[in-house]
Amino acid sequence: MKKLLTLTAALCTLSSTASAATTLQYWLWDANQQPAYQQCAVNFTKKNPDITVKITQKGWNDYWTGLTTGFVSGTAPDVFTNHLAYFPEFARNNQLVDINPLIKRDKVATNIYYPGLAQLWTKDGKRYGLPKDFDTVAIFYNADLLAKAGLKPADLANLTWNPKDGGTWQRTIARLTLDKQGNNGLSPKFNKKQVAQYGYMTPYGAGFNGQTEWAFYTATTGWKHNNGLFGTKYNYDDPRFAQTIQWLADLNLKHGLIPSFQEVQASGGDSLFRAGKAVMVTNGSWMISDYTSKLPFKVGIAPLPKGPDGTRKSMFNGLADSIWVGSKNQDAAWKWVKYLASAECQNVVGRTGVVLPAIPSATNLAVAAHKARGVDSSVFVNQAKAKGGTFLFPITDAAAQVNDIMTSTMQKVFLGQAKAADVLGDANAKVNALFK
């Protein structure tokens, strides 16, 4: 605290004495990450006394509205945290600076990150951002409820899944699901109409990528979203995809082992897990601190179940910082982006453990920070390191339209209004028509 105060004081004197000072506007959406990046900004100004960075945080939904109106009105921030689902559209509308020439000029190394991360931000030989963090998906579980059911964390370490009977994964979910009489989902007396505790919950998030909802299942069946980065042909009509989605929907519709779509919508996201009414939830590494430090029960982390191909596969995604073409402080903006992507800033972020930085050594700091708090987050890193353990986020043009089509179609399946196999073919045709 004292250190922070002195730094802030130093920053104040610096900003008041520097005469030709530049103030950079920097936006991010995650309030939990803001303090870490604030620290980076303070350190950055120490090295560049003529530049101060003003950080603004806006919640996820308003963030993108704010950016878009900012582009139009000339009030967008100089630098902002960018997401793979949004950058193709921004790039197509010429809102982002191609930083490749700057990288060449300054000889910035782009191979210091986890393999594949830097590549996500390139298109047609242009580059729109430098990686700041990465994320993979795993199972978070309520350790208290797990122990109550007589299971050990090790019992979750080697689960298997398949879309036919759900494998040991589904049996574990059933064992952890209890009705009001205390019968678990494996018992013939289990009453699926009166469930008191669910073994697992999915936030449904029926979007086009299914990062934390279904993509880690579908990938192990050999299914792929589309034909590669910036793909133009989608595979939502594949039977393997339909089987997996139907299996997930049936966990509720047929078996009553997970909360219904309506229940999740009404309580919002992962609320049932937070309320201690669902034992397991699948989510991304950016939730580690949130889950493990802010809930009144102990939360453990387990690897994803292995799928039909015998492996576990997680989507590999990451954020980057982009420069807006309209920025009047391009040089300062580039310096800041370079700093954000450097080991120096990523170590600061890593030590807070709030996300897993894109540079492996900084990630180790984050894992150590979690360990010091009694949380083992190595599952996420192991998943990223495992050969073939990850597949890339399906970066696409027209992401918003693809998302709309898939969201409404999958909702019908999750609500039990349609069978996956009957409606996904049409949806896929609509999606592919967007790219003609």
Binding site: M1, W29, D30, A31, N32, Q33, Q34, P35, T56, Q57, K58, G59, W60, N61, D62, T65, G66, T69, G70, V72, S73, G74, T75, P203, G205, T212, G268, G269, D270, S271, R274, A275, G276, N283, G284, W286, M287, D290, S293, K294, L295, P296
Partner: protein, 306 residues
């Protein structure tokens, strides 16, 4: 002896017929009050809950360990470390600055809209000029245009004026008038007795004097009603200030409280902080209604009998 009168009255009371209708009315009233207060109670209860127990205690009506930490967080009374240790988000609101912006924003609009709408309404009600009725019809048509359609042209105008991030930019679309206010006041002015004004006219008063010294004082009730309705609406207005105020220094309260809303797509909002902020933000409106609410009721009753 002295006790006799009391026993007498005590005997008298039960003899009266039991007012069943009144009892039912009170029951219904109590029920309605409870139903309307319930959401406010949930806001307050959530604000008093520690964020750790928020979800596990969602169904109970009173937090097991009530805490003021959320209010302190919102008002910036605790450090970032303490706020995060309490389960809060890493973001902070400059509550006083936002409150100040909200007061200026709402105050200017209430004053401007009430006064200018009254002038327009007076003109429509009393003055004779060519095309008056046609213009008034246009006004009524304007009421049918959904506000959302106007956002984009308004935004472009404000942007071209260079008024982004400024108070003029934030109040511009609202300060002059709304068709509803003009319509509402015109109807009231039409119902005022003409004789008073004619007498003043004979005494040599011009239209503005009549408007200022006779019509306005006679219309305190409806003007207060309009002012209060406008104040409540503008205090809660979110979208326009959100579009115009890009910079934290010009945030109004509803915009500033956004930092507690969704942070990551999969994360949950900082509910306890948001509810504490919302509760504090609602207090001025609450006070306004406590002190001026009677006026509104009176004016509505007044215009109702006309």
């Amino acid at each position: 002896m002295t006790t006799v009168p009391t026993t007498q009255t005590a005997h008298h009371r039960p003899r009266k017929p039991f007012p069943l209708g009144r009892l039912l009315a009170y029951l219904a009233l109590t029920l309605v009050i409870l139903i309307s207060l319930f959401p406010i109670w949930i806001v307050l209860k959530t604000a008093l809950t520690g964020s750790r127990s928020l979800f596990t205690e969602a169904a109970s009506l009173w937090p097991s360990e009530p805490t003021l930490i959320n209010f302190k967080r919102v008002l910036g009374l605790v450090s970032l470390e303490e706020a995060q240790a309490a389960g809060g988000s890493g973001s902070a609101v400059n509550f006083l600055a936002a409150m100040k912006n909200s007061v200026i924003f709402t105050g200017l609009i209430v004053l401007g809209q009430t006064f200018f709408s009254a002038m327009a309404a007076y003109a429509f009600a009393r003055l004779k000029f060519p095309g008056r009725d046609a213009i008034f019809t246009l006004f009524l048509v304007a009421m049918m245009i959904p506000g959302i359609v106007l956002f984009i042209p308004n935004f472009i105008t404000i942007k071209n004026l260079g008024w982004l991030n400024t108070i003029p930019g934030m109040v511009a679309p609202f300060i002059l008038m709304t068709p509803f206010a003009v319509f509402f006041l015109r109807q009231f002015f039409l119902s005022l007795p003409r004789e008073t004004e004619e007498a003043a006219f004979l005494d040599g008063a011009g239209p503005f004097t009549i408007f200022w010294r006779i019509t306005l004082p006679m219309s305190q009730g409806p003007l207060a009603t309009l002012a209060i309705l406008t104040a409540i609406g503008m205090w809660n207005e979110f979208f326009w200030p959100f579009l115009i105020a890009k910079d934290e220094a010009s945030f109004t309260l509803p915009v500033a409280l956004q930092v507690f809303k969704s942070q990551t797509p999969q994360g949950v909002p900082d509910w306890t902080g948001l509810m504490a902020g919302t509760f504090v933000a609602a207090i001025p409106v609450f006070l306004l209604l406590v002190f001026l609410g009677r006026r509104v009721v009176e004016s509505l009753a007044f215009s109702g009998t006309k």
